[in-house]
């Protein structure tokens, strides 16, 4: 019953220890149980699994939105108890504030933390450029496409220079083409900053394309231990990677993992 997958390393920034969660707080309604994962600094770590396996809940606990029923999550050795801008979340739903312009959205985190105006302006401009939204700063979100809103969302957290990014199926609701574009720009941005990323998805291709390691979460009722896969592809990664035989082979292997059930 123990899902013991601990990669012992000194530099792991995030340690998930014997983590269990149940909405009712008792044994019978467990979403997941005794999860152990170590995530290293500067790692792009993907969590894949079918709907209902608890991957979003796991991310919410890391973010501090939900409290674990048992076990703990340690960030740099300190137990996570609160929400913090150091663990920046990019949500599955559209979380861009529709009443603020693109500029004001990206500025929000800096503003509520009372960062001086001059620094704010400089950083917002910088990240507008990083996500390719320069020229759109005065638009309201309703004037943007779904993909552009996701870019605002990303810039809004990156601008605060967080220690890690927690991304919860951020591109799940987008069309295939937009999704691919955003995946490419995400790898580019990531290769530049090398922030620790925990990325939840149910898209195997996305996980293989973006991740350094992938953990496969299964529904608790199947009682299958967590399996972590190392993704061997070197960086920088380009979109053609998805057509390589080795990529396809790994994709099939992952697919098999789910089909067994």
């Amino acid at each position: 019953m123990q899902n013991e997958v601990i990669k012992e390393s000194i530099e792991s920034i995030l340690k998930i220890r014997n983590l269990s969660f149940s909405y009712t707080g008792d044994e019978c309604n467990m979403i997941f149980k005794n999860i152990n994962i170590d995530i290293s600094e500067n790692e792009f770590f993907c969590i894949i699994g079918p709907s209902g396996c608890g991957k979003t809940t796991l991310l919410n606990i890391i973010a501090g939105f939900e409290t674990a029923t048992g076990g703990s999550v340690l960030q740099s050795g300190v137990e996570i108890k609160n929400v913090s801008h150091e663990r920046a979340v990019v949500f599955q739903q559209d979380a861009v504030f529709p009443w603020l312009t693109v500029y004001q959205n990206i500025e929000y985190g800096l503003k509520v933390r009372n960062i001086p105006h001059e620094i704010r302006e400089k950083r917002v401009r910088e990240y507008l450029d990083v996500v390719g939204l320069t020229g759109f700063e005065d638009r309201y979100p309703r004037e943007l496409s779904g993909g552009m809103k996701k870019r605002v969302d990303l810039a809004r957290v990156l601008v605060n220079d967080p220690e890690m990014l927690l991304m919860d199926e951020p591109y799940g609701s987008l069309d295939a083409l937009t999704k691919e574009k955003l995946q490419i720009s995400l790898t580019e941005i990531w290769e530049h900053s090398r922030k620790t990323v925990v990325f939840v998805t149910h898209d195997l291709e996305e996980a293989l394309f973006l991740g350094d390691r992938i953990v496969i979460m299964q529904h608790i009722k199947f009682n299958i231990p967590l399996r972590i896969i190392d993704v061997p592809f070197k960086r920088p990664r380009e979109i053609f990677l998805k057509e390589e035989p080795e990529f396809q082979r790994m994709r099939r292997e992952l697919l098999q993992e789910f089909k067994l059930l």
């Binding site: 801008h85 949500f91 504030f97 529709p98 509520v112 309201y140 979100p141 309703r142 957290v157």
Partner: protein, 256 residues
């Protein structure tokens, strides 16, 4: 609805003409039930000396009552969402008193506060604040959690979240209730002037009623309607200002 569109003006014109013809050239309807439009116009003209002050007083009561009610209602709704203690304390009392028609309180108001402008304003404010308070609280309860979580994740504390996320989010949802409350506040003003007013539109209406002066009553009704309509237009102007960011739906069933 657009005020002053040709179609509506045409229709109003038709109604006025038919009304005038029936009341002035036939004896189907006695003037004591429905006087002719010109009769009402004449009455307005006769009242011209008393009207400006009456309008000013009634406008003052209605607008200040509405304004106070709006602020108090929003504050109540926000406080109930902000503090669980406050909600548990005030919520049940509000649920218990909400179904009581404000108008039923008029005798008590006279007893408690006497007669005068203050209880009149208070009555309007009370009626408005209950509507706005409930609607404010409900709008907040229906907010998507993701906005709150995003704001808190970006470093905002509870107070900041209320100021920068909750308040801007609920404004478009409140507009409907604000318009309803604005319309009701005119009715509440009429009722409040039954509490021993000595001047005001409602007061004039009461006096005309005693003399069975139907034209006079209808004249006041027309004035009230005009004021209410103008006020509603003003609210819509403000609404457009405040909700530039919303995805204004252009729902039309014309092509279905």
């Amino acid at each position: 609805m657009k005020l002053g569109s040709y179609k509506s003006l045409f229709f109003v014109g038709v109604i006025l003409i038919v009304w005038a013809i029936i009341t002035q050239t036939t004896d189907w309807i006695q003037p004591i039930f429905i006087p002719s439009p010109s009769e009402i116009g004449k009455t307005v003209w006769e009242m011209r000396e008393n009207l400006p002050l009456a309008i000013l007083v009634s406008l003052g009561i209605t607008l200040s009552g509405f304004g106070i009610g709006l602020l108090v209602g929003m504050a109540m709704g926000l406080a109930m969402a902000y503090s669980r203690n406050f909600l548990e304390m005030v919520g049940p009392i509000l649920d218990f008193t909400r179904p009581v028609p404000v108008l039923a309180l008029i005798p008590l108001f006279i007893l408690w506060f006497g007669i005068g402008v203050l209880p009149q304003v208070f009555l309007v404010a009370l009626g408005v604040s209950v509507i706005i308070g409930v609607e404010t609280y409900e709008s907040i309860k229906n907010m998507p959690l993701v906005y709150i979580r995003a704001a808190s994740n970006l470093g905002a504390d509870k107070k900041t979240i209320f100021r920068t996320v909750v308040v801007p989010y609920i404004v478009p949802y409140l507009i409907g209730a604000v318009r309803v409350a604005a319309a009701i506040s005119w009715g509440l003003d009429v009722a409040s002037e039954f509490m021993g007013a000595q001047v005001g539109l409602g007061y004039i209406m009461i006096v005309r009623q005693i003399y069975l002066d139907t034209a006079g009553i209808l004249a006041i009704v027309v004035i009230y309607s005009t004021l209410a309509l103008l006020f509603d237009q003003l609210i819509r102007k403000v609404e457009i200002r405040l909700t530039r960011w919303t995805e204004r739906s252009k729902i039309s069933f014309d092509n279905i």
